[in-house]
């Protein structure tokens, strides 16, 4: 099913009993949703783009790549750096912007710039009763009523089907460089990343890639902005971090390629095993990795995000004290057994279930996906 308009979508949901498995581009289907595929690809198109107001309004089925090309023509981008996980998950296809928002899909810049949810200004969606609901708008300061935009972002289609999203865009920086430090232990690397992120030099990426296959461990810091400013901050940061060693500097092309690889978890694309995405406090990250003893792991967000590769079917969640782990890639049986999404405390679980019942009383959407 691929409705062409929001109205068609609403009628389809109102008239059908489901369950519907909502699909944008089908590139980040990490959960185990049941039901007939309901594609949002028909709900595409740019409704409004005002570069001078940093505002974009698009149909949820619009391809992420189309959005990125449109913005690039005006020297802008989406700051939250949505990953493309198709390679990691072994699926073909193109992401839609609705899928990005529904999954709150955010990359390395998230730690300083914010996540997809932070750049989502407004949504239109069809709820489980088949009614069209709007929330938020197209302006970046808006506290009119409850913020259902945040609730929809990250709900993985379990509360409603997004039909339109409004996003805040960001100017594309003139250039970027990366500072690369070699040979640091995970502990040292996190300490260095924390020092850099606690400095005024506006680091926009901080990742630690432990040694693998004979290649030395690399800890990388990204700086973006106007050329003069980047040059200044690169120098100041190197001086600040001198106790951690000497940095090699990657210029724009190599730097961009490096961060694309980190964003899309390319390190694990060809590797066998389950893939976990762990959000935690940076200072606890190295201990968590030591405790779970994975096949491989690397750190993003200055240590706040761990990507871990583990033997199939291993449950690592007992080791996560501060934060949560999502099982991004695994065999279906293991996903069922371990759960894709992290368990929640009893009160949060009850409130979340209550919200799902309100928005989707007949459990028509993505049944079995979350909660």
């Amino acid at each position: 099913m691929m409705p062409k308009t929001e109205q068609e979508l609403a009628e389809l949901v109102a008239g059908g009993s489901g369950p519907f498995r909502i699909a944008g581009g089908g590139t980040r289907t990490i959960g185990l949703a049941e039901g007939e595929a309901l594609s949002t690809r028909g709900l595409s198109g740019v409704k409004l783009y005002e570069p001078g107001s940093l505002t974009l309004v698009v149909g949820a089925g619009t391809l992420l790549s189309e959005v990125e090309e449109l913005l690039a023509r005006e020297g802008q981008r989406l700051a939250f750096e949505a990953p493309s996980l198709g390679g990691l998950l072994g699926v073909e296809g193109y992401s839609t912007i609705g899928g990005v928002v529904a999954a709150n899909a955010s990359g390395p810049r998230r730690m300083v710039a914010g996540a997809a949810r932070d750049f989502s200004l407004g949504v239109r969606f069809v709820d489980g009763r088949g009614e069209v609901v709007k929330n938020g708008g197209r302006v970046m300061k808006n506290v009119t009523g409850y913020d259902l935009v945040k609730l929809m972002s990250g709900s993985h289609g379990t509360l409603g089907v997004l039909s339109e999203v409004s996003l805040k865009t960001q100017p594309m920086p003139e250039t970027q460089v990366s500072l690369v430090y070699e040979g640091l232990s995970a502990d040292r690397a996190v300490a260095m990343m924390s020092a850099s992120l606690g400095s005024p030099f506006e680091v926009s990426g901080a990742s630690h890639l432990p040694e693998a296959g004979g290649a030395a461990a690399r800890t990388v810091l990204r700086l973006e902005g106007f050329e003069k400013s980047v040059a200044y901050r690169s120098g100041s940061l190197q001086a600040l971090l001198a106790p951690f060693g000497e940095a090699a500097v990657l210029e724009i092309t190599d730097s961009e390629a490096l961060w694309l690889g980190i964003r899309d978890v390319q390190r694990f694309t060809a590797a066998e095993g389950d893939v976990w995405r762990i959000s935690t406090q940076p200072s606890t990250a190295a201990d968590i990795v030591a405790a779970i003893n994975p096949l491989d792991a690397f750190y993003d967000w200055g240590g706040g995000l761990i990507w871990a590769l583990t033997s199939s079917g291993t449950d690592i969640r007992a080791h996560i004290k501060n934060g949560h782990a999502t099982l991004v890639r695994a065999a279906e049986a293991d996903k069922r057994r371990l759960g894709v999404f992290p368990p929640e405390n009893a009160v949060v679980a009850k409130l979340s279930e209550g919200l799902r019942r309100q928005f989707d009383p007949d459990a028509k959407f993505n049944r079995g996906m979350m909660g």
Partner: protein, 491 residues
């Protein structure tokens, strides 16, 4: 502005409620004397007043939980209160309610520089959060203009912004986790010191829910390293259109200043008479601030001034040092006080798409003539958040009502051009009855459905945010239905 009729049955059992509250709180934390409860009769929207039945000042999460459990059992509405600086009446009591003030809960629980967060009790003021970390080079970014007084609890309830949110975002973008007490006394942890939720983003909907979903007692907030420096430039234009175009061109050029403030002629004249900041007399004045090292500031200001010059400014004044920066900000920071010198004023808070600025200012000027009330405009131009200040005389019968009608027309205009009723102050009671202008009944119903989950009896701050007619059935489920509205001022 109507409020539900107080439930006389609750007022009749005041003694019982007070004695139960006294059993779980220290004596001085329960305020029931009629004269003393007057201290809580209003917030910064002083036109509306009503003393509560009781006010309580718990000191920690456990006490908040005990209070709410009792109120839940007794069916008493609870109005949470931060520092009482809401301009929207978010903390306005009803005569049958318990005011739950968080003012005594102002401890810093944890400061963590490596992970860049601070955990505080929510009665702590916004500025003192920064105060706890600034000696180590950090700050808390959201900076509402009431930051000296306003509490983090209220910031979370209203999702407060400030002048610097173009770069740093608003409260919701800087909030990592909360400890919250539900109406039945249940304590819940949402989020933590890590980023993003593993499940539904409850934190995202709690922030900005105006104290209707729970009482947030502790908050984990992101802290950021302080920039090396900041300097503003002042630019004057002889038309609003040109000033608006200049802002748009700066943003399109890839420069992201930390603040872009806009003042129109009535506001410039008022502040000049009051603060004598030496502002040029022109139609539109921009103050644009950039951050960074000396060299970075220089480079950004050069870029901004080059763009500004293409639009033929009548004034272009660059701050070379802290003293000149102070002079440039002096007028803007005195603007509200200056308008207050002229008359009483009502401060609005609508947001518009930046591109609609010239049209909206022209229409506000026309309406000002029609209503016969003066208005000055202060505006966070980078993000479209307007603060029209409507002048009126509180002692002149009918003037407040006229001012409110004018304000409502301005907010309707904001929505009409693609904006919203409130950018950072919240809905409270002030914009409650305008919600239907921005939202269809189904949009409001789904928002209220969220409250149904968190507070099924609708006891927490029940008469706010949603038009009384829209929420009536739900409110009637728990407390007495409102038959006729009574002006809180008449109580």
């Amino acid at each position: 502005m109507d409020m539900p009729s107080p439930n006389v049955a609750l007022i009749a059992k005041k003694d019982r409620i007070v004695s139960r509250l006294r059993a779980v709180l220290p004596d001085d934390a329960v305020i029931s004397d009629i004269a003393e409860t007057r201290a809580y009769e209003c917030d910064a929207l002083t036109a509306y007043r009503c003393p509560p039945l009781v006010a309580v000042l718990p000191a920690n999460t456990a006490e908040v939980s005990a209070v709410l459990k009792i109120c839940h059992e007794e069916g008493v509405p609870v109005v949470p209160r931060g520092a009482g600086t809401s301009l929207a009446g978010g903390a306005l009591p009803t005569a049958d309610c318990v005011i739950l003030g968080v003012a005594r809960m102002n401890d810093v629980i944890e400061v963590n520089y490596p992970d860049r967060f601070i955990k505080v009790q929510t009665g702590r003021t916004n500025l003192s959060v920064t105060g706890a970390v600034e000696q180590d080079g950090f700050f808390y970014a959201p900076d509402p203009s009431s930051q000296l007084a306003c509490a983090i609890a209220g910031n979370i309830a209203m999702n407060s912004g400030g002048a610097h949110c173009l770069k740093y975002g608003v409260t919701t973008n800087n909030l990592l986790g909360v400890t919250m007490v539900l109406m039945d006394g249940t304590v819940v942890e949402v989020g933590g010191a890590h980023m993003d939720s593993g499940g539904l983003d409850l934190l995202g909907v709690i922030c900005g829910s105006e104290g209707q979903l729970g009482v947030v007692t502790e908050a984990t907030l992101r802290i950021l390293p302080k920039p090396e420096g900041a300097l503003p430039v002042l630019i004057g234009y002889d038309s609003n259109e040109v000033a608006g175009q200049c802002v748009s061109d700066i943003i399109k050029a890839g420069i992201l200043p930390v603040a872009i403030e806009f003042m129109d002629r009535p506001c410039i004249e008022a502040t000049e008479a009051f603060a004598k900041a030496g502002y040029p007399m022109c139609e539109a004045l921009l103050i644009i601030e950039v951050e960074g090292s000396e060299g970075e500031i220089r480079d950004q200001l050069d870029r901004i001034m080059a763009i500004a010059k293409t639009h033929n400014p009548v004034e272009l004044r660059e701050a070379k040092d802290a003293d000149q920066a102070y002079r440039i900000w002096l007028g803007r920071k005195s603007a509200f006080g200056a308008m207050g010198q002229i008359n009483d004023y009502m401060c609005l808070d609508g947001t518009i798409p930046v591109s609609e600025l010239p049209y909206v200012l022209r229409r506000i000027g026309e309406m000002s003539k029609e209503y016969g009330l003066g208005v000055g405009n202060v505006f966070h131009a980078g993000d479209g958040n307007m603060h029209p200040l409507i002048l009126y005389n509180a002692n002149k019968p009918g003037d407040l009502e006229k001012c409110e009608a004018f304000g409502a027309d301005i907010l309707k205009l904001c929505v009409e051009v693609g904006g919203c009723l409130t950018g950072e102050h919240g809905v409270g009671i002030e914009k409650r009855d305008l919600m239907t202008v921005q939202y269809a009944p189904v949009d409001l119903d789904r928002q209220m459905a969220v409250k149904d989950v968190f507070d099924p009896q609708w006891l927490l701050n029940p008469a706010k945010v949603f038009p009384l007619a829209s929420s009536e059935a739900r409110r009637a489920g728990g407390s007495a239905p409102s038959a006729s509205g009574i002006h809180p001022r008449d109580i």
